[in-house]
Symmetry: C2
Subunit: 303 residues, 2 copies
Amino acid sequence: MPTEQEILETIRKIIPNSKNYLFDDAAIIEKNLIVTTDTLVENTHFTLKTYTPEEIGWKALAVNLSDIAAMGGKPLYALVSLSLPKHIKIKWIERFYKELVTCAKRYKTKIIGGNLAKSREINITITVIGKAVVKTPRRGVSTRSNAKSGDLVFTTGTFGDAAAQNYKTKTLPQIELGQKIVRACFKHPPALMDASDGLADCLIQIAKQSNVKIIIDRDKIPISQNTKKAVEMLNKELLNLALYGGEDYQLVGTASRIDCKKLENLKGIKIIGKVIKGNGAFLKQNNNKLVKLDLQKTYEHFK
Amino acid sequence: MPTEQEILETIRKIIPNSKNYLFDDAAIIEKNLIVTTDTLVENTHFTLKTYTPEEIGWKALAVNLSDIAAMGGKPLYALVSLSLPKHIKIKWIERFYKELVTCAKRYKTKIIGGNLAKSREINITITVIGKAVVKTPRRGVSTRSNAKSGDLVFTTGTFGDAAAQNYKTKTLPQIELGQKIVRACFKHPPALMDASDGLADCLIQIAKQSNVKIIIDRDKIPISQNTKKAVEMLNKELLNLALYGGEDYQLVGTASRIDCKKLENLKGIKIIGKVIKGNGAFLKQNNNKLVKLDLQKTYEHFK
């Protein structure tokens, strides 16, 4: 089977002007509208045994809203496409949809359409349309490519929580904080991304697409007390969870030192590293040695 | 298993203000933007044995563009969400995408994003964003509900072709004609719909949502010479194919008599009936008797 990377490269070669799109959490179209789409598939992202209809309903929308948050946007509309197998009961659909609507209301998003189809496994594809709250100076260009040498690296929230709780945490898109971030940095748009695939993935992607080197401090990675406790109990490697666990749906970004002063005053934001000339994303250990972050390896493999 | 109608009714009860949306081919949002989404599922809409990657790629986008045509819109952007099983080869994806891009270019649509996921069967959900070419006087309100007593019923193209060719016809969204129709009827927006589920379905839906009675003349239903010949050969019931076959992706609508004079001058448009007070959609036979159109029955069952 081709890897996701191979498929993406194939597709990008075929699509005209794909460098303007297809490299970010969401695409920016005219009138400062932001569009994003994400899919949950049964047996890939969830099973009916491990997740309630409510958990699936909330998450299906929330992961899309997180992509809007990563653009500093305000969500407006959602379209919900459901492919359902024969055995699904109306009660399941009702419970799924009620929680999805609860999530939509929480983030002031209107459900304006969708599609129903028959399938052998559940497939939920949601598209969300939002609005940039700050006029984007570079329309259609990836915010992942905005990191500059001299910037600092910041994050919202804590990392490793989803993995420590076996991915049963509720996805809480950082909509309000995302908007505050882009407003604080309105002169120089920040690099910004949501950590759906983990903190390390964010840092590697931003470094790659901005052509810079990123170094974060091991001790500054925000990890919650609960996760520290859970991991002690489970005897798992804490740093691996925080770096590679994924599904925390926090925001990771870089901004100028001046803007980061403003960001530090926002609740939940922490400065964890810096951007310099070079390539790649690195973890600075307590002994000051740099360890390259690599998605193929977890921390313990290259320690 | 719950029927599609039961599922839709359940969903509509849960979603706030669903009467403003969810009853049309596409939703109209601010700035006259039109959004629509549609899904093709393996084993439901196609199999890898019966359809080439090119046929699936073209159709996946074209059925969405047809929904934009049904709003008289101009397509702008598309997001392509692909769920793919392990066994799919990169060559298949390449062929699928190349033809999808050919369709996108033909209808001047930019592909600006999407999603990739793993699944057990292929699921292709595409969202298209377009623009209304005539400012819609009633934003967010179904154009299926625009039919008024006194209107005439018109169609584009011919019906029954897809069914007569075992649904292997190429879907050609009536984008240009859709725009011409709404421009010709700019004072009084027409009822308009695409005949993805067949001519009878369109007439029933428009009658229901506009609270009117629709009568079409049996002899005026446009049927191509090729389909007439094919059906003779296959010994199928011609009228059933034209009314219930579906997948012709032509447009069906109603407009005032004055506007219909203008529409008749457009190539491919034919007047096939009228709108009066009452309820339901009817076929006027050669003996002047009216037969009610019913999706539960094909023509031969109630003749």
